[in-house]
């Protein structure tokens, strides 16, 4: 079953130089394992293909039901050098929430995920 992250998570992002961070937080604690299993470093790297110029690093914070992603080379130089509208990476959070993940039907039901499209 296809699930969109916006339906199971919320997020906030910020910057550190040319790196944007996105903290992805499960809307319910029981959905965190789904994020941890399917929103992998590789999947996020593919999602942002063409938008960032460096690697993606993932950190887990199960205590907060959250994952933290560092998107390197995301801000066109970052800070005051960047010409981007989102020079400080404030809304990369919502760009990540556009991502779709594929969850087996049985697991989606067991985790009580909202029905996808």
């Amino acid at each position: 079953m296809k699930i969109r992250l916006v339906d199971i998570a919320h997020a906030r992002s910020g910057d550190k130089g040319d790196t944007a961070n996105v903290g992805l937080i499960a809307l319910r604690p029981e959905w965190y394992p789904v994020l941890e299993r399917y929103v992998t470093q590789e999947a996020v790297s593919r999602h942002f293909d063409g938008m960032i110029h460096g690697p993606v690093t993932r950190y887990e914070l199960p205590n907060l039901n959250a994952l933290n992603f560092l998107l390197h080379g995301a801000l066109d130089g970052g800070g005051t050098l960047s010409l981007k509208t989102d020079a400080q990476g404030k809304v990369f959070s919502t760009a990540l929430l556009r991502m779709w993940i594929e969850v087996p039907q049985s697991e989606a039901i067991a985790s009580n995920l909202p029905s996808g499209d």
């Binding site: 130089g17 938008m51 205590n63 907060l64 981007k84 556009r98």
Partner: protein, 451 residues
Amino acid sequence: MKELVRVASGQGFWGDSLEAPRQQVEGGEVDYLMLDYLAEVTMSILQKQKERDPSLGYARDFVGAIESVMPALIERGVKVIANAGGVNPPACAIAIRDLRGSSNLRIAVVTGDDLLHRLDQLIDQGHALANMETGDPLSSIRDRVLAANAYIGSVPIVEGLRLGANIVITGRSTDTALTMAPLRYEFGWSETDWDKLAAGIIAGHIIECGAQCSGGNCLYDWKSIPDLANVGYPIAEAKPDGSFVITKHAQTGGRINVPSVTEQLVYEMGDPREYITPDVVADFTTIHLEQDGPDRVRVSGIKGRPATDKLKVSIAYRAGFKAVGTLVYTWPEAVEKARAADRILRERLDRLGLRFDQVLTELVGVSATHGPLALSEIDTLKVPEAQLRVGVRGENRRDVERFTREIAPLVLNGPPTVTGFAGGRPKVEEIVAYWPALIDKNVVTTRVEIV
């Protein structure tokens, strides 16, 4: 020893609400008012102001803030901790001294973070001050440096409070130390109480961005967050064991719950196990949050580890010029018109022989922030309007200046149905860029003075 200490956040950056400091001290009981004025780029703006006038170089909003809270400081003993000193803490203290009523107050000034006058000596002594992102040595941009400040920790602030200060003014203190220091002072935490120091740092991280943890910029259930017009700024109610509650005054808007606090915790986060500060390394994977009544979140379980032997240094340097121009194109075929205009503009810039390090084109309303992720989901023929936004960046001011003259002509000599040029020619801006570096802790000596 007090059993409970309340630190109220009244400013998340220089430019935040002018009303918040007064609302924080008048809305209920607080012990400390914490005001964070410094972002990475702020130091260079302040340095430029100081060059023009040696009595400036600090966050001038702070003077109005202190004026607005003066009765609470004098009558109720509320203390203020602020990094409003910028690149000139002594001048900031003098401006506060000039306020009516301030003769009743002791003001502590923390200095020693400013390394600008020592840079050549430090480089000569072998401190490369290499850029933490690129590895380049500072010598490669030495002649363009405007400001250089070490991020300093809680120690000098605690010292100021010990000396009986009502107001502690620092320069480039870390944002989090402004909250942790008064807790360390009140509860007598030692320099090796790693868990407690880390807890104080995390309390600071949660409240340092003002209302961003109490309902502001909160995505979770955002439409139901009440009365943001009267949003309450956060307060950390801390106990000696290092646990604390994040709350806000009654009768204020906004919301404090586990999701709102979690969003702020992950803001600007790097490796969550390694939140490095001058005082302690805090581990965000140990934080436990629980709702503790309406608009109250209890935070506990925090672990910390010994600090490193380095301090981070914030260096600002001149890095060329930039300008951004915009035009709005409308349906039908708004996106195609904007793209055509961009092609024409770029061809003209080429023909003029202008040289830029970068030319960036975005379509605001279409793909400026979500890029290809957005484009793949919309029918561009249906877009009602698109803002063409072209930015250039380069070393040569004249070329950037010339670019700003090439936007307006497109209104009459480019693709059709274009508007939105009422603002006039784009402004050329000098870029002051940020150079993060590390330095050995033992070369930075802070001083505290009562004035």
